[in-house]
Structures are given as C-alpha cells and as structure tokens.
Amino acid sequence: MKLLNITTKYFLISFLIILLLWSVAFYSIIKGIIYHDVDEFLSNRKTQILEEVKGSPKLLEQNKVVQADYTIEKITGGQAEGLPEHYESIFLQDPVEDELEPYRQLVTTFSTKAGLFKLSIRTTLVGSRELAKIILLNVFILFFVLFVFVVYLNRKLLQKLWRPFYATLHQVNTYRLEQSHPIKFSKTQISEFKELNETIERLIKNNLLSFQNQKRFTENASHEIQTPLAIASNKAELLMQSPDLTEEQAELVHAMTENLSRLSRLNKSLLLLSKIQNNQFQETENIDVQATLKKLFDDLNELTAFKNISLEMTIAGNAVVNMNPDLAEILFGNLVRNAIRHNIENGMVRVKVQKNEVSINNTGLRFEGDTELLFQRFNKNSNHQDSSGLGLSIVKTICDFYQFSISYSVQKNIHEFSIQF
C-alpha cells in the first residue's frame, strides 16, 4: 500500500470517528439549547395562563378546557400527587397535514377554589427541528470540505516532502554495483532523508569497494596465472614430441596436458566473467538473434548429427538485440551447447525465437539439483567431470549485464531456458 493511500485511509477513519462523536455531541447541545429556550417559553406561558384563569374563574366550570396551545383538566387529589410538574417531548397528530409532529409540553397542576386542575401547555418544535437539521447539515458539509482539503493538502505535502525519498528510492532501485561508480543523491533539507541518503551512500561505497576488490583479485589472479600456465602447457607439448617416451610416460604427459587445458579453460572463463563485469565489452551493435543462432547451428550440426540429436528452430518474430557481438555469440553458444551436452540419445534441441524472447528447449535427464543454484559459479552436475561449471554462470552474467531476464524450467524431462530482452 502506498504511503499516500495509507495516510488518506487514516485521515478518513479518524475524520469519520471525530465526525460521528462530534455530531452526536453537537446534536445534543443544540437540542439542549432549543429545549431550554422552549421550556422557558412554556414556563412564561404557564404564568400567563394561570393569570388568565384567575381573572376569569368561569373558564374552570367545565371539566375540560381545550385551547389552541393548552388544555386544562379537572383532576382528583390522588391524581395530582403522582403528577409533578415536568416537561416532555411528544408527538401529536397535525390535523392539517395529517402527520405526527413533534411538540414540547409542560404538564403541571394547580388548584383554585374550584378544585385541582392539570394544565398541559404545548408548543410545536417543527421550526426548531428544521433549524437543528440545517445546522447539522452544514456541519457535515464543513467536515466534508475540510476532509477533502486535508487529503489534498496531504497529497501535495507528501509529494513535496517525500520527493527526496522517492528520488533516493529510484536511484537505489536502478543502481547496479557493476556500474562501478558510487551513488550520489541530490541534496535535501530534511534531516531524516539526509541521514538515509548518507547511510545508503556509505553502505554502497563499502559494497562497491569489496566488489571491486573481489573483481580486481579475480582479474589479477587470472592474469598472473596465464603466463605460467602457458609455459607449463607448452613444455608439456614439447615433451610430447620426444620420440622415446615410454607408454607410461606418455600417459602421464597426456594427463598433464589434459588438466592444463582444463585449467586454462577455467581461467579463461573466470577472466571472461570479470571482463563482462568490468564493462570491457563496450562496443554494441544490433544483433540479429536468428542469424546468430543459425550460424551456431551450422557450426554444431556435425556434432549433433553424430550424437543423433535433432536441432530445430521456430521463428515467431524477428528478435534484434543491441549488444556486444562477442557476448551474443557466447550467450547463445553456451546455451545451445549446454542443451546439446545435457541431452540424451536421439534427443532434440528446439529453439524458438520471438520478438522479445528466445527459448531453448532440450530433452534430457532429470535434473537433480537445486534449480536456484543453476546459474551459480562452480555448481556443476557431477556427470560431467570436464565441465568447468562456469558456462551458465557466464550466461547469467551476460543477461544481468544487459538486464535481460533469464529463467529455467523443466517439465517431464524437457528443460527450457528462456531469455526475455
């Protein structure tokens, strides 16, 4: 959930709660004020009526007097005792509009010489109700406007205040150690963000340093190894030419050359890896993937014919990728050769080229390992002693370098590598 949405959510919830509590409170306050007013009016009216009644005792000769706003009823002493003076809110039938309308009523008793009487004085509350409604409505409108304003302000503030944060986030997201330059954030006045930026800068600087050290070490080691390796393998080759080697000696020399070759292949792979990461393959051109694969197929068809593996290519789109031509050759070469190497008798390799994707399928044995580790250095399938375990790692490094995504999947002994450009 986005920060903006979360704050908006909290604003909404707290506003609703405040609005609810406030409207209840406000309603009772308004009601209290209105009742207080009306009750005062009724009380004054009571004095008026009592004056009137005292002035004209004849009025009380009937048992019940009904006037527009009051009624007087004769009651007994017993009734009067259970009837203290009180105000009440009631609903009465409005004869004109034929509906119930709210009234406020004062019920009291009084006595004259003629006996005990109950006096009920009423006044309508319709006007006051309307007033209360209007006030409440306005309160709601005010709240709504305020809410919209706060959300808007919050959004604007977030955008403004959090801009350095989002800028940092974007930079960190797109940052790759392989670029080999420290990250630089833009200046911000907000101390928290300043601290965040400094922390990330420091973190990345340290990472970069150890990354570069590691890279330099691999590179230097590989370089330093090359010359003695070259000398050793050349000497072995010379030894091979010697005419009077015994069989036993010949075997020793053979084992020596084999392993020196393996070592030098390994070393070349490591150098290649560090060169890719050092961004030493800068020249790029538009590579026609289909043509590259076709050339590769041509190159390999004698081998596949020998192994009885069929090579197929399906073209569903024209894939053109901007990358280094040598790396393109290594990338597709490693994948196709991998598919041939881990194949079975009478198997197949099927390559499908789409506009932004190339997938390479092959039949093979069940893969018994952790697919997560597939692309890691020196993670090899034990069946192939002479494999360096770097082929797929090189593939992955090239993909990472160009930000292609590569995935591996297996279904019923059909293995698939697919690259999205």
């Binding site: 080759e237 020249e283 020998f306």
Partner: protein, 225 residues
C-alpha cells in the same frame, strides 16, 4: 622462413623457438622492445610473433613501425592480457591474427603457417604433402587425382594436421582448434574420434602417403606411413 619472436618470458621464448625450429623455421628472438625495434630495422621477417606486454614498452607500438617500414611480414599478436582492446587495436594496426595466452604450440604453428601461406603463395593456393593436394581456395582435397569428400570439420582437421605434420598433437589442442575458443564446453572426444576415423579412412582409400597415426596415450600424428 624467418620468424621474429618478441617475448619477454624466457621460458615461453624457449618453447616457441624449440617447436618452430623443428618445423624448419629460422627463429630470431627479442626479449625487449628495444631489441625488437632494432631487429625490425635491420632484418626482414616472414612472420613476427609479438607479445604486447614488454618490460620497456607496449608491443603495439612496434606494429606501427612495421607498417611504416612497409614490411611484408605477417604479424601475430600474442597476449597474456587476453584483452579485447588489444585484439581490436592490434588488428586495426594491421596485425594478421591474435592469439591469447595460454595457447597450444600446435595452434600457434597452424596460425603461423596460415599467415605465411596467405603472404607468400598468393595465387598458388595449394599445399602439397606427399600425394595429398589441398586446394585452399576451393577447400578441396585430392589424393593424386581422386578428390575426397570431406565435411567442413574434417577439412579443418586435415589442415591442422598438415600444419603440424610429424608432430604429436594432443586431443585437447585438436578439439580446441576445431571448436574454437568455446571455453568450457568443448564436447565429446567421441565425436573427434569418429571424425578422425572417417578422415583416416578417406585418406587411406586412395593410398595417401601421409595419414593420421594414433600415438598411444597422447593423441595423433600426421606422418608418412
């Protein structure tokens, strides 16, 4: 044929000279930039092996000088840096080939031969070895009058064998020559073996004087019976 080997590593220099001398090349050596510079002014060579990292300068500098002199020598850059920049730059400066260290001596031999062929036999593009004639333009091979039908790999293999005739060639160097610099996944000696078997059969069919011999435990040798 005269070779100049510019290489600062004595052990390297030694091996190369020893291998090339057996093929009948006259090898001169230079261990420093200055030495190479001097020799290049004084003599003409058919082919120059040039290590780019020299103690007193960058071997690529020598390239320009060779070009200024309008020398006919073929140039192979040998580099331990295995760096693409060297390769691109070297080839731009007029080098004919680039060979990263470590390499097989048989591979070096094949490259030197190829360059010398290109330089000296322009027009007469044929290699004759005993009764085997290889047409380099048409990529055809015949034994006396009988043309052989070879696959591309068989042809490449034959050429490699011819360049290193009478030498023991290890399976690895042969495989690497055929598969190129396909690091890591050089596959299947079985395939190589079957190719060699086929090639041998085809040569034998027409009684070629030279043929491929298996050298027990080591590899192969192209020699007369």
């Amino acid at each position: 044929m005269k070779l100049l080997i510019v290489e600062d590593e004595p052990a390297m220099l030694n091996s190369i000279t020893s291998y090339m001398a057996k093929s009948g090349y006259v090898c001169e050596i230079a261990a420093t930039y200055a030495e190479a510079d001097e020799k290049l002014w004084l003599y003409d060579y058919d082919c120059i092996l040039l290590d780019v990292t020299l103690p007193d300068g960058n071997g690529l500098g020598l390239l320009q000088q060779i070009k200024e002199k309008k020398s006919q020598a073929g140039i192979i850059i040998v580099s331990a840096k295995n760096s693409l920049d060297d390769k691109v730059e070297g080839l731009n400066f007029g080098a004919d080939d680039y060979l990263p260290k470590p390499f097989h001596l048989s591979e070096l031999q094949a490259r030197v031969n190829a360059i010398i062929r290109r330089r000296h036999f322009a027009g007469i593009n044929e290699i004759v070895l005993g009764n085997v004639v290889i047409g380099l333009d048409s990529k055809s091979v015949r034994v006396e009058q009988h043309f052989l039908t070879l696959t591309r790999k068989e042809y490449e293999m034959l050429l490699f064998f011819v360049s290193n005739k009478n030498r023991v060639i290890s399976k690895t160097s042969l495989a690497e020559h055929i598969w190129g610099d396909h690091i890591d996944q050089v596959d299947s000696y079985d395939f190589l073996y079957s190719q060699i078997k086929n090639l041998r059969k085809k040569l034998k069919e027409f009684d070629s004087v030279f043929n491929i011999q298996a050298v027990y435990g080591l590899g192969y040798k192209f020699s007369s019976q």
